[in-house]
């Protein structure tokens, strides 16, 4: 048993991969420390899925090198396969088979004898709340149940590294929370998790480090806090009681903070970036001054908060384009990845 929880789980240098005209990976570098959740964040079509498929030995890179726990993903693919599991964007279990059959099948393929495979399947189904659905075909499962059986299949042999490719895409909030809980449990037992997501709050909540990926390369890397502070230290969110006072409030804020103020779609809400360059006050002092000025001007503020910028804002600042891609780009990547 060699459960490595120190050192690097993944080390990738200059990975490239093209599909015809599409350059899915354009020199991707990645260093994933073992023993934590590492988030790979990016819009659809950024190359996340291609990166995961290369690292999980499903796809060969055109150029560059990648090692997983020190094993080259091309030359020593089998050694890598022995230590990783993948839960892809698609159901990576057989939809025609029942939950139990799927887990027994995979257990047998990993070398368990039939009784042991049966026992392991029951244990996993119970832990993932699927005992009642055990005898049902997976295609009759709900989205959340499908995700769970998928993850259960991935931890049949507790892997040293688990790839989760957009595990919560398309799930309702409750199922999403369940998956998060499972991911936390998996990591707390020493498995490294590489999580790709296009949900910025998801990476923020789960990952201890994040790589922001765009157009096939990493454009920023660090802890969630580092990424946010690289953009500016804070954002003031305000909600006024009276929407009619908003133009006046905007004037006051611009005068007090000398920063642009953004009006939200909600007619009583507005935000302002504080603590950036060009001010001799820190974010909290600036915010306090803004609040004082508003109250002096007779503007009633119902809700006020000072927070770090959201990762959405981080993405916008890093890429000069928002974290959304067209459906076409997404289809390109999905198509290309197969």
């Amino acid at each position: 048993m060699s459960r490595r929880t120190t050192g690097l789980a993944i080390e990738a240098v200059g990975l490239t991969r093209s599909f015809g005209e599409t350059r899915a990976l354009a020199g991707l570098d990645l260093q994933v420390p073992a023993g934590a959740v590492y988030g790979v964040l990016g819009p659809n079509g950024a190359g996340k899925t291609t990166a995961v498929r290369v690292l999980a030995t499903l796809l060969r890179p055109d150029g560059g090198q990648a090692r997983v726990f020190g094993h080259d993903v091309v030359a020593e693919a089998d050694a890598v396969r022995a230590r990783v599991s993948l839960t892809g964007q698609y159901a990576s279990v057989d939809e025609d088979l029942t939950g139990t059959e799927n887990l027994i099948l995979l257990g047998r393929l990993l070398g368990l004898r039939k009784p042991a495979a049966q026992q392991r399947a029951e244990q996993l189904l119970a832990a993932f709340g699927l005992t009642e659905a055990a005898g049902r075909q997976v295609k009759k499962y709900s989205g959340g149940m499908r995700r769970r059986i998928d993850i259960a299949a991935s931890i049949l042999n507790t892997p040293d590294l688990l790839f989760l490719d957009e595990p919560t895409t398309g799930l309702d909030p409750r199922s999403r929370n369940q998956v998060w809980e499972i991911i936390r449990a998996v990591v707390s037992h020493g498995t490294t998790v590489l999580l790709t997501t296009q949900y910025l709050d998801e990476a923020d909540k789960l990952a201890s480090r994040i790589a922001v990926v765009d157009h096939g390369r990493v454009i920023a890397e660090g802890t969630p806090g580092e990424l946010k502070s690289s953009v500016g230290s804070g954002t003031v969110h305000l909600r006024l009681r009276d929407a009619g006072q908003r133009p006046e409030a905007e004037r006051v804020l611009v005068a007090a903070l000398s920063v642009p103020v953004q009006l939200e779609a909600d007619p009583v809400a507005m935000t302002a970036r504080v603590g950036g360059d060009g001010s001799d006050l820190d974010a909290a002092a600036q915010a306090a001054r803004a609040l004082g000025e508003l109250s002096r001007a007779g503007i009633v503020v119902d809700d006020f908060s000072l927070g770090q910028p959201s990762l959405d804002e981080v993405f916008l600042a890093l890429t000069d384009h928002p974290a959304v891609a067209t459906e076409d780009e997404r289809d390109d990547e999905l198509e290309a990845a197969r």
């Binding site: 048993m1 459960r3 498929r53 030995t57 499903l58 796809l59 060969r60 396969r81 022995a82 990783v84 599991s85 993948l86 892809g88 964007q89 698609y90 159901a91 990576s92 279990v93 057989d94 939809e95 025609d96 088979l97 029942t98 059959e101 099948l105 995979l106 047998r108 393929l109 990993l110 070398g111 368990l112 042991a116 244990q123 996993l124 119970a126 832990a127 993932f128 709340g129 699927l130 009642e132 659905a133 005898g135 049902r136 075909q137 009759k140 959340g144 769970r148 259960a152 299949a153 931890i155 042999n157 507790t158 369940q178 499972i182 449990a185 998996v186 037992h189 020493g190 498995t191 197969r338």
Partner: protein
């Protein structure tokens, strides 16, 4: 399948709350089992093929209804014209239509593989540390059962219609055996196409384009001596012709040594060439 759906009705869905204790039990790293042997892994994959037949019995349609229709249709269509009666024609024709039907069914191997890949389950299989060809070997072994079933269905229909093979039980079994060996080898052509083509439809299209000329331009339906010279040349080189000759001989209680040798040669070539190409593509995707 009623038992599959019974659990989903008449009960309020319970909300799953992940429990850290339960998860801790399953996450505790146990001893890693040893990697299964190539044979064991392949058999596990063929078990999967059997389970799929159990859950989706409709897929047996192509190995039951289709062969029956083929036998009935051609026996009565050509029987009167090409021989004195359908019954006479059947003595010549049955081994041929058996070969045609089973060889046509081999294309579902490619379609099945393509569908599996489309659904993503092969991603899981390909990340497992098992003998690489196991998933495909297991799949084809599962298909071999379907070939046997189709052959038996055709034999039964033939016997009912008056087919009386001189080779007896042993001769018929030998004939089916030859057919199954060849079909196993031939299936590797379709695994290759199943891997390189983009959709189920294109696999189907290519299969048809290959299978129709291969089965019809042979000695299945008529004696090739009436054909023009260039066509005879093709028919003589066609592996289906050799297969039909050797199956016909076996069922008639004789042996066609040269045809048999050709069949073995073709089978080896299919496995070596297309098996290698298939594995190359499978590893490279």
């Amino acid at each position: 399948m009623s038992s599959d759906t019974a659990t989903s009705t008449g009960r309020a869905p319970t909300v799953y709350v992940p429990s850290s204790e339960a998860l801790a039990t399953v996450l505790a790293p146990g001893a890693r089992p040893t990697r299964p042997s190539p044979l064991s892994a392949s058999l596990t994959f063929s078990w999967r093929a059997l389970l799929k037949i159990k859950h989706v019995p409709e897929q047996l349609f192509d190995v039951t209804a289709f062969p029956i229709i083929m036998v009935l249709m051609f026996t009565y269509l050509f029987g009167g014209a090409l021989a004195d009666s359908p019954r006479d024609y059947l003595q010549f024709f049955l081994p041929g239509i058996m070969v045609t039907s089973v060889v046509m069914i081999t294309m579902y191997t490619g379609i099945g593989l393509n569908t599996d890949i489309e659904k993503g389950v092969f991603d899981r299989f390909r990340t497992l540390p098992v003998w690489r060809p196991a998933a495909l070997v297991g799949m084809i072994v599962g298909d071999v059962l379907r070939y046997v079933l189709a052959a038996l269905v055709i034999l039964t229909v033939g016997l009912v219609l008056g087919f009386r093979p001189d080779g007896g039980v042993l001769g018929v079994l030998a004939g089916i055996g030859l057919l199954v060996v060849f079909s196993f080898a031939f299936s590797w052509v379709w695994t290759f196409f199943g891997l390189i083509l983009r959709s189920e439809k294109s696999v189907m299209g290519v299969s048809m384009m290959v299978l129709f000329p291969l089965t019809f331009l042979s000695n299945v339906f008529v004696d090739p001596s009436t054909m023009p010279g260039w066509l005879q040349a093709f028919v003589k080189a066609n592996p289906i012709t050799h297969l039909v000759s050797s199956v016909r001989a076996a069922m008639a209680g004789t042996t066609d040594a040269s045809a048999m040798m050709w069949i073995m040669l073709w089978s080896v070539v299919f496995v070596v060439v297309f098996g290698t190409l298939t594995m190359y593509r499978y590893n490279r995707r």
